[in-house]
Structures are given as structure tokens and as C-alpha cells.
Symmetry: C2
Subunit: 363 residues, 2 copies
């Protein structure tokens, strides 16, 4: 598989949904496969909130891309046929401009001064990327969770520049419970004494504990209760492999381990920014809260996928989008899959899931 990583600089900057502006910004972008002659085979994959541009293949340290089970030669998103474009989102912390970047105006790290970013801002920045790549339209935009929200926004905002949108394990808006869970995570981060109201880097410190607790909570929402019971149940962690002596159960050890690892690679301000973008996503808002009206100008074919074991964005959320699509008379299919891994099911390939994605891209 041909694969390339490139930092794209947009020196004309961007005006954000809030009205604030970035005078210049970078997007770190992976591509997999090759663009064909008529530039008709480009697919944009959008990552979920802690994801990155590294969607496929393995990095030097052996880490697989977040959608490696679906993207590659002869996989559901076949890189022998498609040119897959995978940017790290604006505001994230894996190479694209975000709170850990240097602000060109001040010469200092942005920190808390980095502006709020919305799903629409991501879509706008990705449209600038599309243009920079000299492509007229995406054969498909797709992603899971917050990535699915971007796919939906793409279909609404740029009907002429997208042929298909794959909206997977997502919702047209966060529920009250979704917002509440995100707020607890944000509270953990903000109340870490090392947070310094977001200016921790200027204080040579990092709110690691808060970020760890935030991720531990979020991680629970990505798994299904049934899957956790099967995998961990009430098993006691053997003493030798306990991360610390306060741990009794395997599930505690697992969460501690996952939270710790995450807190070593992610940024706290980015965590807050990303969860805010998720909470605030609501494309129907400008249409008197009528999603069907928001979808009226959509020309892309939609594929909406929900997973039965997902309790963060359960299948009902996908069905709401499908219902609105039917009411607005646009082309849309809804697929409900069993899923074994709760919300995280969108990351894992299984036959029916892969066949449907493949057929959708062929359609």
C-alpha cells in the first residue's frame, strides 16, 4: 500500500464558526493508495475525538492505525481502488495546529488561548484540504463517532463536493447524558492542580491525573456492559500484574492502565476542545431543530450504521438520522449491526460490516 504523511500549511488561515480566526494553520495528513487520473477515487476518513491522521498501516513502533481493520489493499476501504485521505483534526494534538502549537502572533504556545473549534470548522478546513489536493469532490466522507458527525456535516455543508457519506456509530446531536459524561471528564481535567486554567505548558507542567480520570470514564462509555462482563467480569487482578496496590479487580487494572497510557500521549486542552465540539454539534439547530430541513439540500448518498451494543450513541440515534433523511426524500440506508464492543465496534472489522461499507463505496 502506498502511504504518505505530509504536513499541509494553510497560510491564508481560517475564520471559525465563533467568528474568531486563525491566521495560519497546519493539518497533518496521511494518505493511503493513489489518486486516479480523473481524481474521482478520493475518500476522506474523519477520526473520532482522540484519533489521529494515522488511520491505516503500522507505524515504526508497530502501532496499527485506528481503522487499519477497514483500510488497506482488498479491505472494505480498498486502497487498490481508493485514495484515502486522513487528516488529523484542527485543534488536535498529533501534528495539526492545536492548543499545544505555537501561536504565530505571540510566539508562545496557545494553551487556553486556542479558540473553540466546531465540527463545521473541521469540515471547512477539510474542504480547504480538498481544494489544495486539486480534487473536486470526495467519492466518500466517512468516520465513526465524532468522525460520523463530520461526515454528516459534510453532506449538509458541501453537497457539491461529496458523493457519499458514511455516518457510523454517530448521532445528529449529543444527548443530555452524553453532555453530562463529557462534563465530568472536563471537570476532572480542570480541577487538576496542574491545569492552571489551561496554561499548564507555560507553567512547565501537565494535568496528567485529571486527563487520566477523564479517559477512564470515557473508556467505559466505549465498551458495552455485556462485553465488559465477558472480558473482565468480577475477576480479581493477580497481584504481580497490578498497576498499583489500590487495584483489586481486573477491570480496574485495565482502566488504570488505559488511562495512564492515554494521559502520556494526549493533550488536556484538546480533550476539552474535542468534547465541546461533540456536545455542541447540532446541524438541525439552524433549521428550527428540524433535521429533515437541514438535510434538504443533501445530494450525497448516506449510509448510517448503528451498533446494538453501543450505549454512547445507540442505534436509535442513527435511526433518527435515517428517519429525517426519509422525510427529506434523500437517498439513505440504515444498517444495524450486532457489534460486540459497544461504541468501539465501529473500529473493528467484521464480515457484514465490511461488506456493507465496500458495497456502499461501490454503489
Amino acid at each position: 500500500m502506498k502511504s504518505q504523511r505530509e504536513l499541509h500549511t494553510f497560510s491564508s488561515g481560517i475564520i471559525l464558526e465563533t467568528g474568531e480566526a486563525l491566521s495560519s494553520f497546519d493539518l497533518m495528513v496521511d494518505t493511503y493508495g493513489e489518486l486516479n487520473n480523473d481524481k474521482s477515487n478520493a475518500i476522506l476518513v474523519c477520526h473520532a475525538f482522540s484519533g489521529s491522521h494515522h488511520a491505516a498501516g503500522s507505524s515504526d513502533d508497530g502501532k496499527s492505525g485506528w481503522w487499519d481493520e477497514l483500510i488497506g489493499p482488498n479491505k472494505a476501504i480498498d486502497t487498490n481502488k481508493f485514495f484515502v485521505v486522513s487528516p488529523n483534526n484542527l485543534g488536535s494534538c498529533f501534528g495539526s495546529t492545536g492548543p499545544i502549537s505555537i501561536c504565530p502572533e505571540t510566539g508562545e504556545v496557545y494553551g487556553k488561548a486556542f479558540p473553540a473549534i466546531s465540527v463545521l470548522d473541521w469540515v471547512n478546513s477539510q474542504e480547504m484540504l480538498l481544494s489544495k489536493l486539486g480534487i473536486n469532490s470526495w467519492a466518500c466522507v466517512l468516520g465513526g463517532s465524532l468522525g460520523g458527525m463530520q461526515a454528516l456535516q459534510w453532506a449538509i455543508t458541501f453537497p457539491d463536493k461529496i458523493q457519499r457519506a458514511g455516518i457510523i456509530a454517530a448521532a445528529a446531536k449529543a444527548s443530555s447524558q452524553n453532555i453530562a459524561l463529557n462534563e465530568v471528564s472536563r471537570e476532572s481535567i480542570r480541577k487538576d492542580v496542574n491545569f492552571h486554567e489551561g496554561d499548564y505548558l507555560k507553567n512547565d507542567t501537565f494535568p496528567k491525573s485529571g486527563l487520566k480520570a477523564a479517559r477512564m470514564l470515557a473508556h467505559i462509555t466505549y465498551l458495552s456492559e455485556e462485553n465488559m462482563n465477558k472480558r473482565f467480569g468480577r475477576k480479581i487482578q493477580d497481584v504481580e500484574s497490578r498497576v498499583d496496590d489500590l487495584v483489586d479487580y481486573e477491570v480496574e487494572n485495565y482502566l488504570q492502565y488505559k488511562g495512564e497510557k492515554f494521559s502520556q500521549v494526549f493533550d488536556a486542552n484538546t480533550y476539552i476542545l474535542m468534547t465541546r465540539a461533540m456536545d455542541d454539534f447540532d446541524p438541525a439547530k439552524k433549521f428550527d431543530n428540524e433535521l429533515k430541513d437541514a438535510l434538504k439540500k443533501v445530494t450525497a448518498k448516506l449510509l448510517i450504521v448503528g451498533f446494538k451494543s453501543d450505549w454512547l450513541f445507540p442505534p436509535e440515534r442513527g435511526k433518527e438520522i435515517q428517519l429525517a433523511a426519509m422525510q427529506s426524500g434523500i437517498s439513505s440506508s440504515y444498517l444495524e449491526l450486532e457489534g460486540q464492543q459497544g461504541h468501539d465496534s465501529f473500529l473493528f472489522g467484521n464480515e457484514r460490516y465490511q461488506k456493507n461499507i465496500e458495497a456502499f463505496l461501490r454503489s
Copy 2:
């Protein structure tokens, strides 16, 4: 309603399930109604993990008891007929001996030195209370959530001293997800810089932020997603009544407010102790994980109540107890109620719920 509050001292102490001992302990106990001549009308109500002895009536500051909708004259638990005994649990922080108490041996506050307490320890201490009150057996032991776990343990441990057990919104053991959620709460508390490994009082401080975040998370698990959507939805909090300027949505403001209030009245070590007791509760464990075998010697009639909107201990958990009861051939009824408030539904009176409790106590 005749009501009395009394501190009972047990100077002979107690040996705990871990083998550790308390040389002496106190239980703060409320009673409502009057004990009849043949002492056959005593009901023990067991509180959930953040509850107290104050189950009914109103305190001087106007605060209602946690089960005031069910306990009182002519209510489901009728104080004209029954003598209701409501202790604050050992290890709690509302007057009974717990981590904020002074250890008689050292003359210092217990803090982290307070031993782990189990549901069985509570039941044993409540049996000592029964004996001290000169009563032979409870007409009923009942409670919701962790209180329901105590009722179940009572039926198993002291078959001769309990006529009925009301096990409401409870489970015979915590799920992997339950444990995981509790662990995140504990992590928030432990990583608060003011926690000092549990010896915060000796350091003249308190891990308020950690306790607040813990409660915010727990609070979400007490409500149903549907109820949250109805009550808060995605409504923006009006600016004047925001608890701070980081709040956008009503649901955030509500959680912030609730968490803040809780962190002013509850103890952090108690929070950890109570969640540990909940995680570790598993009466079937000593019976090769066969709950039906644990129930073999039960003579009390059981009433098991589950609420459809409860996702912390969903109806399936109650059904598991009912199934085991049927397999062991004991007398047990299972009742599933709609419930509007998720797990918290057990706190609120509604006609069908109250009638069933009343009929059960009459049976």
C-alpha cells in the same frame, strides 16, 4: 409521627469480615412510629451508599428524609402500624463510627486507618442493634440499591431474625461496569492533591474537588438517559444562574451544583469505603458462585423490585435474584416498575410501587 434519634454505642466492638476489629463503635439511629407490645412490628430500613439515618420526616433545616415519600403515617411503610428503625451505616459519616471518627486507641481521627467494611459487616452490626433494642426479629428489612443488598444479605445470614426482605433496585453482585464506574470515582478522589492517601483531616484539608467529580459521575448513573433528555435536553443554562462561566448547558450546571453540595457534606474516605462494599458484595461467592445455594436457608419472604429506566442495576439484576429464589424453592415475588427517574426511582413514591410495598408488609 413519633420520631426519635439516638446514638447507640456498642462497647463490645465488632470483628469485621476482613478479620480486623473495632474495639467499640457507635450507630446513629432514627426510629419512626412505636414498637408494639409483642415487638413484632419492627422494620429495618437500610440506606443506599450516600444515605443516612434520616429516612423520614423533615429535619430542622427543612430537608426531607431520603425515603420520606414511603415512610410515615398512612404511607407505604405506615408508621401508625410499624416501628421503623433506620441506622446510619458503620463506616458512614453522619454520626455512626467511620473514617472521620476518633479512633479510641490512638486518640486521632481514623482517616485511612479505618478498616474496610462489607455489606455483611453492616448486617452483623444491625443484628447487634436488633438485639440491643430487645427485638427478636424484623417484620421486614428493606432498602434500595446498596440498601437492597443489605436486605438480601439479612435474609441469607439471619434467617431466624427476618420475616420479609424488600430488595429494591439492587443486584446480587455488581457488574464489571458498576465496578469500573466506581473505580473512576475513587480515582478522582485519590488523585486530588488534598487526599494525602486518605489522611487529609490530619493535614487539615479535604479532597473536595475529587469528591465533587466522583459525585457528578455517580449522579449520572442514578438518572435515566430519557429522564435527562426530558428534564435538561440540550437546553443552554441562562447566564445569570450559571454556577461558573465554564458551564454552557443546563445539565452541566445541574451536575456542578449537585456535586458541589455533596462535596460539602460527605466524606471522601467514606465514599471509597462504601463503593468498595458495593463492588465486593457477592453472597454467592462462598457458595461456588451459585446464588440459589446461598438462598437455600432463607425463610424470609422476598420482594424484589426493579425499575425499567434503571441502568445502574437494571431489572435483569433483580430477575437474577428472583430466578435463584425460584430455583432454591423459597418464597419470592418479582415486580418490575416503569420508574421515571432511573436508578433513583426507588426513592420516589408512585401508586403501584407504594401499594406493592404496603401489601408486602401486610402479607
